[in-house]
Structure formats: structure tokens, C-alpha cells
Amino acid sequence: MRYLPLNDTDRSDMLARIGVNSIDDLFADIPEAVRQKDLLDLPKRASEMTVERRLSAMAAKNTSAGSVPFFVGAGAYKHHVPATVDHLIQRSEFLTSYTPYQPEITQGTLQYLFEFQTQVAQLTAMDVANASMYDGSTGTGEAVLMAHRVTKKNKAVLSGGLHPQYREVVEGLSNMAGDQVVSLPADPAGTEDILSQIDDDTSCVVVQSPSFYGQLIDLKPIAEKAHQHKALLIAVFTEVVSLGLIEPPGTQGADIVVGEGQSIGNGLNYGGPYVGLFATRQKYVRQMPGRLCGETVDAEGKRGFVLTLSTREQHIRRDKATSNICTNSGLCCLAFTIHMSLLGEAGLTKLARINHGNAVKLKKLLSGVPGVEVLNSAYFNEFTLRLPKAANGVVEALAAKGILAGLPVARLEPGNKDLENLLVVASTEVNTDDDRAAFAAALKEVLA
């Protein structure tokens, strides 16, 4: 077996040195009755070439985003990631290192985490950010739990513009933990009255902007109302590139900001691994979940970085911990940090403009297709269409024409007549004018 350095001579010599007759003597604690005597009913070892052949055959059955005109967003976005990023994250020293428990020999990891935290705090205009969550959805669940700890209340109000699967994650956790959740109905155009839902029992209000449907939401009045009732505003975003162009949640009064960072540095990967961004106000830092990297000095006075405030964490506090999270998204943070360092403010701003511009162009084209209505007035790189018929079938028909056209809302929100014809479409920098023209022409055909 190519990954195992021991040979049979080593093995028998080592058993002799240990003083046992066979390897099974070392497994003697496993009761005889439950010992696995035969090999597992699985294929035997395979060469590198064989494995590559089998997995490549599976991969070849999938339509990759880069191979067709591609307009699916809804929480994960197809962006161009510079080649440098993937090269650097495959450096052995980054890829095959553990959580930096020994800071003297993991300054590489710790320094990029510190850079990552700073970038996230800057982007969101918040005081502090942690060293990542698994993704945006689980981060949102953790943010709600954190708000309950901070406010000592347990009712969360979720906007109808929150990603339906994020909502399900929060609802699932809250149901299990015995907390209350008020989920507002789907809000494609951003017209819901969330303010009237906030009362003195409210612990937090969760609002996504740009919303799941693409609508940009003014968070300021919501923050104001929440604060009047001693509740926190949790601002969520799934498209971090939007922060290159729009007002950050931190200057709009958000208390906790949670985002999906996949767009920067990370591929689509069919949903994971991604990287959850999590930021808050300084005063709440000790209630924050997740790992934190902090600056300090070593015995010679040189600057260095360590994991810090670990007394919040499960390995110290156990059942009193702020979260059970342990492993997070280290390498995805690194990809994010490298890509963001390459972009810088100038690049991010430009990238965001290109994205927005492409969406504006797409909107113009699609709203010209007979029977198609665009529901959003203010948006970034994503918006929602109302089609004259069920969106599910339209998307399948477009897929058959080689165009991946967006997400039919009914896929995630089935059984709601009002949502059946809605289609969420995104346009990023990867789309060309030809892609957009092909989409509009095909849509026209399918709807005719």
C-alpha cells in the first residue's frame, strides 16, 4: 500500500519488540464476539491510476459552471479565483498543519488568521471578527444563539429575505434548544414590515442584505427599532463581493454580522467547504463563538500571534462554552485572505462594479423578454424574476439547452403558489455579453 511505510519485516520485528505474537494481540480489548474477522465487504486497494479513472468518470457526468453560460447564485457564486490562490493554499506548510496550538511553530497560520480577522472587520465595518465559522448558514445559527446569550432573551425574528436554508438552520437549532423563532413570509421585493415584529421579548432580528432575492435592504431603521427594544440586529450577507460597493452593515447599526465568504478565494465545490465570516462589536467579544487569533509578544519581545480568549471555548469551558465549534475553515480563510490581498481595495471595488454592471445589463435583457417581470428595484449582482409559468420547468428546459439559468425559488420553498414562478438569477464577472444574450434568447424560446 503506497501510503504505508512499514513493510512486513518491520511489522514482525516491531511485534517482537513489543512482546506480542500477532497484531491481533494488540486488539485483544475488542471483545471476541464483535471483532471483525473478515475483510470489510468493500473493494480491495486500488492504484492511483485506477482511482483517478473512476473518480474522473463520475466528475465527467456533471456540468461544470465554467463550461456553460452560468447564472446560478442564491448563496454561492461563481467567481474567477486567481491561480496564485490555489498554488499557495497547497503549500505543505499550510495544507498539512493542524490548528495552531503550538504558536512558536505555527506563526504562518496565526499570521494569516490575524490578517483574515482584520480584513473581515474592515469589510463589515465592525470592531472584531473571529477566525471563521463553517459557512454563512451555520454562522447565522451561532449568531442567534450568541444574541440570546447577550440579551438573555430567546426570541429571534427572521426576515423573509433570509436564505430559506439559513432560516431552516436557525429554526432547527432553535427548536432543539427550546428557543422561539418568528419567521416572516418570503419577501422577494423587500417590502415586508419587519419593524412591527420587534418587541421587548425580541432577542435579535436577522436580516439579509442583499437579500436571498437580491434586494438591498436599508438596515438603519431596523437597527434603531431593535436597539429601542434591547434586541440585536444580526446582518447577513451571502455575497461578500457586494461589500466592495455597498454600505457595510457595521455603519448601519448591525451588532453581529455574518456572511458567506466563498466568493473570495473559494470555488463552488457543490456547497462546501466554504468559509463563514463572523464579526461583532467589541463589547460582545467574550460572547462570540469560534476561534480568535490575537497579537502578543514572545520571550524576546518579538511580535507574534496566538489563539486567544479560549476560555470561551469548549475545550476549556466544556458544557459552559459559547459554542461547540472546534475545527473551522482554516484553509478557506487562507484562500479568502490571499485573494483579498491580491484584490486590495482598488480591485475589490472594481470587481464589485463589474458584477453590478453585469447584473444591470442582464436585467435589461431579461426584462425585455415577453412576460418576464423583474421584482427588485435596488440590487447588487442578483435579482428575482417573475416568469409567466413555473420556474422549475423553465430552468430544466434551459439546462437542456446548455444554460444554467438560476435558482427556481420553489426548489427551496415548495408548495407556495406565490413563489412558484420566481427565478433568482445572478451575474458575476465571469459572464460575457454572449452568455447574457444566449440566456435571454433561450428564455424567450422556452417561454414562447
Binding site: M1, I30, P414
Partner: protein, 531 residues
């Protein structure tokens, strides 16, 4: 013109062993200091060439950002050098033995990286039509098959994003099963030796955590367990047990423990962090386990990446299978179906909810399946056997000098020592570990499990050769002898040779600096400015 027949000098020259020049840069040849990007990048610099933005008009509805962000940019060569230099300050499996107990730092095959980057896996969207990703469903289903067969379990929930997330998923399934049976027990039993994630998970779901005691040999005390169960009769939701346990020992009475819990109406959650010791040797399904997460980033070698991403699928017994969360893949006559919503469920499927958006850690699934297929049934068993063999080889190599808390007996994939061998030497467990750094080793896990004083948990994994183990043992013996001889200096100030000396964690926690801030501009008075 005469040739220089000698060329450049080839001898080492005059060297004074003790002389270390104090360099202008603070660098020491390949060991270089690297500033933060914020200290040398510029907001004007961009290392990505983008097309010109030809935005026809803005439709942002007045939501435009007003202030600068302050994000520095780097040109590509600057970025390359910055991160390469930083990387060199990291220890990694690829550079040396990484005996971090409980963490399973084994070799990460690069074939797995290559496979995960195939566009058919890496460049597909979680919400593109399922009809356009049949190969993705096939891969997930195939991995699920490998996981179920190797654990002997009925079902697997694939989506949890890491071990602790898997624990949460398993415990949520248990809670859902109790609720479905109109029961609401309040107590979860957790041994003292458990990973911190276990009690944290139980508490997150509103359970009361009750500790159970270990016997002198480190395994669960059956009599005490019976007493605890009797005391909380009818109120026990389940037990969370790591097996092999965190002391590196297999719970011999595991079947009895499972039977006791089941008789009390509870479920058996097994923390699968140490499953790598027994793959192909015993199946959790045969041990009475109801739910167990599998850390794909430990047992099946997806890279740890400096703390993630992980992946924590949870295998479930027939009693819990129906409660597996969304999404899941259903096998039908016409192929594989992705079930994403409650509306799409059929009889007998009662998902308790959803753990995460989308389908989980696809990138990790590809790597894990690549690993499992490469090993096959024979290789997986061999890997477990070699891991256990290596740990015992270290045990035997060190047990006369270091102290085994539970006496001389075979261990599983990791060997636990305590610090009694350091008694009266003036060297602490931490000092000892830091001295290992100077010898070129990553220290073992320290002070965990909590049940053992000054615990040192060593897990070599199957990736180490005999020569590597021999050198490690010899090094450890030298360190122990040195401590016993009272050479405290080697330990108290260690590490001396790492990129950093010991870091001040106390002040870091007392006054946390969690991000870079621009230094205060130096105030210049108008009169000074005029000069």
C-alpha cells in the same frame, strides 16, 4: 590573462561555533521576518487584472458605500513572497512527525487534492439542477456506502461540516427520536475523559450533562454507571462515549454499556474521533452504537488545513435513520434523487431539520472517497493495524522512562503518558513539550484528557516509518534523561530555536488585540510643521 584555477573557496572556512551575527534585518538567512499586509500593501495596488467596469448605470437604490474600507492590495509577486515566507514558519505533517494525540495527523495523499479539483466536482453549484450533477450524487452515495459498510450502520447523514457539527447532528437525531416517542429525558451522560465538544454539544441542546467516572484503568466504571442510571431512572437521553477512548484504550465493556443505556431508554452516541484505530477491526454497529460522527479529516485523511475545513458525516442505527436531516440522497429505480425539503419526503422519512445550507463538504467527500478507494478493504485494515502497532512501539520504547497512568498494557492508536516521571525534576509538561520543538518535533497533545495529571497523548499514525519512530523514541529518551539529570535550562526557556520563543498568552487574553490598527499618527504642531 590567467584563469582562476581555484574557483570559489570550497572549504567551510573559519567558523566560530558560537558566533551568531546580529543582522540588520532581523532575518537569519532562510528564517525571515514578515510584516502584515497592512504594513506594506497599498489600497491602490491590485494583483488581479480585471476588465474595465463598463457599468451602464447604478441600480443600488442609494445603498452605495461612502467610506473607504482600508484594504491593502499586493501585486502578484509580493503576495507570493509574503505567503510563502509566512508558510515557512509553520510545522506540518509534510515536514515532520506530528504526534498530536486525538488529532490523527496522518499523511495527506496528493491524489486526493487532484481529484477534488476536477471541474466536475470543484466547479459545480449546490443549487444547479440535480439533473446536471448525477456524478456528484453518485460520489456522495458511493462514499456513504463505504462509510456504512465500514461502520456496520444503517444510514449516514452526510452534511455536518466538522466533528463537533456531527456530534450536534447525532444528538439532534437522538432528541428528535425521543420527541417522536413522546419522551423528553433531560440528562446526557459524559465521561470526564471526553472531548470538550461532547459536553458543549449536549448543553447546546438544553441537556443536563452528568459526568460518569472511570475505573483505575481509564475505562468506564460499570458499577458507577449503573448507579448513575438508576439515580436518574427514566430521565436519560443517552450517553456520549469516545471509543477507543481518549486515553487510547478500547472500552472492553462496550456492549454492556450499550445494553445498559438502551435498557434505560437512552441512545448511545459514540464520538468517532478515534475510529481510525479500528477501521476493519470492529464495526460500531456491532458494538451497539446508535450514532457516531466520522471525522473525514482524521480517519480518512482530508487535510487539516491549519484548523479546517473538516467534515463530520454521522452514521446512524436503524432506530435513528428516519430522523436524518435534510438534505439526503434517495435511491430509486430511476436513479439517485436529492431530497432537500420536507415536502419531498415520503413515508418513514422524518428529517429533524437541516444542519447547514446546501449539501455539506463535497470537497472533503471527494478526498475521503479517493483515500478509501486507494486503501480498499485490505489497506484500511492495514492502516489501522499499523497505527496501533506504531503507537505500541512508542509505548514500549518509552515506558521504562516515562510513566503510563494505567500501567503496562497495549494501547490502541495513541499512547497516554502522565507527568509523574517529571516529578522533582523542575520540568513541567509544557516545558517538556516545548523542548521537543527544538528537536524538530511538534509536541504531543498535552493536558488532555483531563482525567490524567499532566497528560501527554502521543499518536504517531500509520504514516511513520520504523526509522522515524526510532529517532523519535531516541529523542524522547534523551529529553527524559536530560530532565532527570536536572538540565532544566533546556526546558524552561524552550523553544530556543523556533521562529518564535514562548509567546505571552496571558497578556494576549487580558488585553486582546484581535486586528491590525493603523499606528497613531505622530502629532506635529503647526510651528514644527512650519520649520
Amino acid at each position: 590573462m590567467s584563469m582562476n584555477t581555484q574557483g570559489r573557496p570550497t572549504s567551510a572556512g573559519d567558523t566560530t561555533e558560537t558566533f551568531r551575527p546580529k543582522t540588520f534585518t532581523g532575518n537569519r538567512a532562510l528564517d525571515m521576518e514578515e510584516p502584515l499586509i497592512f504594513e506594506f500593501g497599498s489600497v491602490e495596488t491590485c494583483g488581479v487584472d480585471l476588465d474595465e467596469a463598463d457599468t451602464p448605470e447604478f441600480e443600488l437604490g442609494g445603498h452605495e458605500r461612502q467610506a473607504e474600507i482600508g484594504l491593502p492590495g499586493l501585486a502578484e509577486p509580493e503576495a507570493m513572497r509574503h505567503y510563502v515566507r509566512m508558510s515557512r514558519n509553520n510545522y506540518a505533517i509534510d515536514s515532520g512527525l506530528y504526534p498530536l494525540g486525538s488529532c490523527t495527523m496522518k499523511h495527506n495523499p496528493r491524489l486526493n487534492e487532484k481529484m477534488a479539483r476536477l471541474p466536475g466536482f470543484a466547479d459545480i453549484h449546490p443549487l444547479q439542477p440535480a439533473s446536471t450533477v448525477p456524478g456528484a450524487l453518485e460520489l456522495i452515495d458511493e462514499l456513504a456506502h463505504w462509510l456504512m459498510v465500514s461502520t456496520g450502520m444503517e444510514a449516514v447523514a452526510m452534511s455536518p461540516k466538522a466533528g463537533a457539527h456531527g456530534e450536534l447532528c447525532g444528538m439532534m437525531a437522538i432528541k428528535a427520536a425521543h420527541t417522536a416517542a413522546n419522551r423528553s429525558p433531560e440528562i446526557v451522560l459524559v465521561p470526564e475523559s471526553a472531548h470538550g465538544t461532547n459536553p458543549a454539544t449536549a448543553a447546546l441542546l438544553g441537556y443536563k450533562v452528568v459526568s460518569i467516572d472511570a475505573k483505575d484503568d481509564g475505562t468506564v466504571d460499570l458499577d458507577k454507571l449503573k448507579e448513575t442510571i438508576a439515580k436518574h431512572d427514566g430521565n436519560i437521553a443517552g450517553i456520549m462515549l469516545t471509543n477507543p477512548n481518549t486515553c487510547g484504550l478500547f472500552e472492553r465493556d462496550i456492549r454492556t454499556i450499550a445494553d445498559l443505556i438502551h435498557a434505560a431508554g437512552g441512545f448511545f452516541y459514540c464520538d468517532g474521533a478515534n475510529f481510525n484505530a479500528i477501521v476493519g477491526k470492529a464495526r460500531p454497529g456491532d458494538l451497539g452504537v446508535d450514532a457516531m460522527h466520522i471525522n473525514l479529516h482524521k480517519t480518512f485523511s482530508t487535510p487539516h488545513g491549519g484548523g479546517g475545513p473538516g467534515s463530520g458525516p454521522v452514521v446512524l442505527s436503524d432506530k435513528l435513520a428516519a430522523f436524518a436531516p435534510l438534505p439526503f440522497i434517495r435511491k430509486t429505480d430511476s436513479g439517485l434523487e436529492l431530497v432537500e425539503t420536507n415536502e419531498a419526503t415520503t413515508d418513514g422519512e422524518q428529517p429533524f431539520g437541516r444542519m447547514t445550507a446546501f449539501q455539506g463538504q463535497m470537497g472533503m467527500y471527494v478526498r475521503a472517497l479517493s483515500y478509501m478507494m486507494s486503501h480498499g478493504s485490505d489497506g484500511l485494515r492495514q492502516a489501522s493495524e499499523d497505527a496501533v502497532l506504531n503507537a505500541n512501539y512508542i509505548r514500549v520504547g518509552l515506558q521504562d522512562l516515562m510513566s503510563l497512568p494505567y500501567g503496562v498494557r497495549p494501547c490502541m492508536h495513541e499512547v497516554l503518558f502522565d507527568d509523574s516521571f517529571l516529578k522533582d525534576t523542575g520540568v513541567t509538561t509544557l516545558d517538556f513539550a516545548k523542548a521537543m520543538i527544538d528537536e524538530g518535533y511538534h509536541p504531543m497533545t498535552m493536558y488532555f484528557p483531563l482525567v490524567v495529571h499532566g497528560a501527554m497523548l502521543i499518536e504517531p499514525t500509520e504514516s511513520e516509518s520504523r526509522a522515524s519512530l526510532d529517532l523519535f523514541i531516541a529523542t524522547m529518551r534523551d529529553l527524559v534523561m536530560s530532565a532527570k539529570r536536572g538540565e532544566t535550562e533546556r526546558f524552561s526557556g524552550a523553544p530556543y530555536l523556533a521562529p518564535r520563543r514562548r509567546l505571552d498568552e496571558t497578556s494576549a487574553a487580558r488585553k486582546p488585540v484581535l486586528k491590525w490598527t493603523a499606528p497613531e499618527p505622530v502629532e506635529i504642531s503647526p510651528s514644527e510643521a512650519a520649520e
